[in-house]
Symmetry: C2
Subunit: 136 residues, 2 copies
């Protein structure tokens, strides 16, 4: 069911500093920061040949990553995102198998403009998993 | 400098249960468990089209992930691994730029039989980064 790893998301306390480290120390191609107010984050994309790392920093009040950074002030790996071809079928299969979809179970439009869902980290070894519908 | 994301490693408290979830709930191809006593882990590879997830469980005493699981009993994302073409050149560049290589700074032979190094998580936003030398 799951296809490509679309991205790994890292919550960072200082977006400019984190971007500089990935660019200058690790020698990766990085994007300009993009503010996504409807998602409560500013994001920088670190482009790898086979996938990407997303550096996330809280934007505005009620950012979904503010609590994570409060608990982990140095930052840390926040979630990983797998692509699926049919997100409603994926959600149904997961529910049937006993995994919990966060929220009301309905896909939302995510940061890339595509439907996404998150799975309960307690059902996947403490790992927050995002599913994103990417049509082939 | 960094190339492909080689893998994301997840420390899991129950390897058989975690493997079943990735196989049955997420529908991914998974390997048989492989014991790597010299690295203190048993690993299951979750094969994605563009990269892999590695499920790690402690093996023997002094496992490098035992402390992580003690602190995070449910498991969690442990590290991510980027490929580099020349690991000694990478280590030199990182040291020159002020990043800390863990241990004595010398590459060790990692779980895939290739030279690896780990970078200090405090230098990368609370994220443990492994570099693995993969010749193209």
């Amino acid at each position: 069911m799951i296809g490509n790893l679309n991205h790994i998301a890292i919550a960072v306390p200082d977006l400019a500093a984190a971007t500089a480290k990935y660019r200058d120390q690790l020698g990766a191609a990085v994007s300009e920061p993009q503010e996504l107010p409807e998602h409560g984050v500013t994001v920088v994309f670190v482009k790898l040949p086979n996938t990407k790392v997303e550096l996330l920093h809280p934007l505005g009040e009620n950012s979904p990553i503010a609590a994570f950074l409060k608990k982990n002030p140095s930052g840390g790996m926040h979630h990983m995102c797998f692509e699926v071809e049919d997100i409603r079928a994926a959600a149904q299969k997961l529910s049937d198998e006993g995994a919990r979809v966060l929220g009301d179970g309905e896909p939302k439009i995510g940061a890339h403009g595509l439907p996404v869902l998150f799975l309960h980290p307690k059902d996947f070894d403490g790992t927050l998993i995002e599913l994103e519908e990417v049509k082939k």
